[in-house]
């Protein structure tokens, strides 16, 4: 196995150098904003010639930036919460019941994962405009719930796959109802995979730009949309500060997911 490619030391060196170059090439654009964010508030420059927190001050004091940040956090939180409430019981039902149309139902739930986001955005735009949901928080939240629910379901179903059905059987023999079994036997076993799904959904909603761009306006603009439009209209260096903050947040959440996944595997 180790010598599948007849790797000499030299060849391995070349491969790993190439890999690292690729990583750096992909990472660099995101990393480059970090030094810029601590630089001159007047213009975007690299490398920065001074170190200030001016850009961060601007970000936190400008209500337009700050407002869309709060908006994004609210949307992400509500989305995650509702998607959890929908996805966890649905995943449980799909995994354990013997409904005849099970495969079809599962396909239906997974659909938003397969449809191109741009198509979804356009479709929702047309639908929501007739429902009067354009440029409302409810509208984005609804769209994000659609987008994130399948991901939570996938995570929870994999958790259910690893969980022990015998525990549910034994609880049922001891007299527990389906509902009791769900809350006292199933949910505790799914803690980690639910957390992974939730973090993932939160992250997705937080930096989702395509659908939100279709659906939001001045009253409901989320942070990524605000960033995108400010690139097009003003190109302010505050963007660097926002990007850095988002990167840090994403990194933290990703670390959280990795830790949780480690836990699910350890307990399985």
């Amino acid at each position: 196995m180790s010598d599948l490619f007849g790797t000499s030391r030299l060849a391995r060196g070349v491969v790993s150098t190439a890999a690292w170059t690729c990583y750096l090439f992909l990472l660099l654009p995101s990393l480059i904003v970090i030094p810029i964010s601590f630089g001159n508030p007047g213009q975007i420059e690299f490398p920065p010639r001074q170190f200030t927190l001016q850009l961060y001050r601007q970000f936190f004091t400008d209500p337009a930036w700050w407002g869309s940040t709060v908006q994004s956090l609210v949307v992400a939180c509500v989305t995650t919460l509702v998607a959890l409430i929908l996805a966890v019981p649905a995943a449980y039902a799909l995994a354990r019941s013997r409904l005849p149309g099970r495969a079809g139902l599962r396909g239906l739930f997974m659909m938003p994962m397969l449809v191109p986001v741009i198509v979804l955005g356009l479709g929702l735009y047309l639908q929501f405009s007739s429902w009067g949901l354009l440029d409302t928080t409810a509208g984005v939240v609804l769209a994000h719930i659609m987008l994130t629910t399948p991901y939570i379901m996938v995570s929870v179903m994999s958790g259910l796959h690893h969980s022990d059905v015998a525990l549910e059987t034994v609880a049922s023999i001891m007299g527990a109802s389906r509902v009791t079994i769900f809350f006292r036997v199933v949910l505790p076993q799914l803690k980690a995979s639910i957390a992974v799904g939730a973090l993932f959904a939160f992250l997705m909603s937080l930096d989702e730009v395509v659908v939100a761009y279709f659906l939001t306006g001045q009253n409901s603009m989320t942070l990524p949309v605000k960033m995108y439009s400010s690139i097009r209209w003003e190109l302010t260096p505050v963007l660097a500060a926002v990007s850095t903050l988002l990167t840090v947040l994403s990194l933290l959440i990703a670390l959280g997911i990795i830790r949780m996944q480690g836990k699910t595997e350890a307990s399985a």
Binding site: A166, V170, S172, I173, M174, G175, S177, V185, P188
Partner: protein
């Protein structure tokens, strides 16, 4: 036990069957289990033991027949309304709950007051002598301890019937024997009806009031351990429980009605057969090894054979004899001082009293 009325039955199976497509996991079966009885389902792998148990627990629904539990038709009753207890081979303890919480769970499901739950759990923990581990998680316990906890979780809510599917299968021999005694003790103290699945004949013989021997999805024979051991009705029963010498032959019936079996090793007197037979039928003579003895005089019925080997098993010795037709006979004797010692290769006689033999129908070809 003199429980003959239907009211005293804990379980009544009437023509219960379960098939998966073409697979007959359980063929039409009638079985009645009395209240307070300890019944063991014994049989080889795939004989339908778990299927029978799961049908009673309600984990699967029968393809045919009726299941009555405690006088109530339970054929389609959901599992959680059957009021049973069950112990699994892999313990099935909740990993996210402590030992205390595990045992308290069925009581919480029954909405008992907190104080009563605490008292009952403490009692159950005492009963299995594990009070000191109440706050631990199951994975911090040994296999034997975990199985005792799952027993406690079962008896704590006092179900009328406890089902056990090879509960000791994952434990080593010594622990198994200890737990067998513990389960027997609990059965005696609490008077709960128990239906116990095992494929270990010794376990079945040790523990049961009655053994139900299963073979190929049906009941082969049932009875007390003694009855199964001394009065097997088929070759399968004889071979599955205890070890046996089986000599096939043809039935001869004399004018006075006595029965003989003509075999390749000679013609032997046989007791009246367990199933009706007529002259010329194929049949098998069963003699348990411990009912045979190495003979010098040849006073009783005997067969000559060459001693192939003798194994000492502590209190008993087993001799393996090679007979004229190439078959092997096993003779088991008590290992006593002064026992005559035959040598490998010696020509000796294996004798038995005709009354200790049993005439069985031949094994159906399949």
């Amino acid at each position: 036990m003199t429980m003959t009325t239907a009211a005293a039955a804990m379980i009544e199976l009437e023509g219960v069957a379960k098939s998966y497509g073409d697979v007959h996991a359980l063929r039409r079966t009638d079985l009645s289990i009395a209240k307070g009885e300890f019944v063991t389902l014994l049989g080889p792998s795939g004989s339908g033991k778990s299927t029978l148990l799961n049908l009673i627990a309600g984990m699967i629904t029968p393809s045919a027949g009726r299941i009555v539990i405690d006088g109530r038709d339970a054929t389609t009753l959901p599992t959680n309304q059957r009021g049973l207890g069950m112990v699994f081979q892999n313990y099935a303890l909740m990993p996210h709950m402590t030992v205390f919480e595990n045992i308290a769970f069925p009581l919480q499901v029954r909405r008992l007051p907190k104080a009563e739950i605490r008292r009952k759990v403490a009692e159950a923990l005492d009963l299995i002598q594990l009070g000191h581990v109440a706050d631990r998680r199951p994975r911090e316990l040994s296999g034997g301890q975990q199985q005792r906890v799952s027993l406690a979780r079962c008896i704590v809510y006092n179900p009328a019937l406890i089902l056990m599917d090879e509960p000791l299968g994952a434990l080593d021999k010594k622990l198994r024997e200890q737990m067998q005694l513990e389960i027997k003790r609990l059965h005696a103290e609490l008077g709960i009806t128990m239906l116990y699945v095992t494929h270990d004949q010794d376990e079945a013989l040790t523990m049961s009031d009655r053994i139900v021997l299963m073979n190929g999805g049906r009941i082969e024979q049932q009875g007390t351990p003694d009855a199964l051991y001394f009065k097997p009705e088929t070759v399968f029963s004889a071979e599955f429980i205890g070890s046996s010498n089986l000599i096939p032959g043809t039935v001869q019936i004399a004018a006075d009605g006595t029965c003989r079996l003509k075999t390749a090793l000679g013609t032997f007197p046989a007791p009246a057969p367990a199933a009706p037979m007529k002259a010329g039928d194929r049949a098998v003579l069963l003699i348990r090894p411990e009912n045979m003895a190495i003979e010098v005089s040849g006073a009783t019925t005997s067969v000559p054979g060459r001693l192939e080997d003798s194994i000492l098993l502590g209190g008993v010795v087993r001799h393996f004899l090679r007979c004229a037709d190439g078959s092997t006979l096993i003779v088991q004797e008590l290992n006593q001082p002064g026992r005559s010692v035959a040598h490998r290769g010696d020509l000796i006689q294996a004798g038995w009293q005709p009354g200790h033999a049993r005439l069985l129908p031949p094994q159906p070809a399949n």
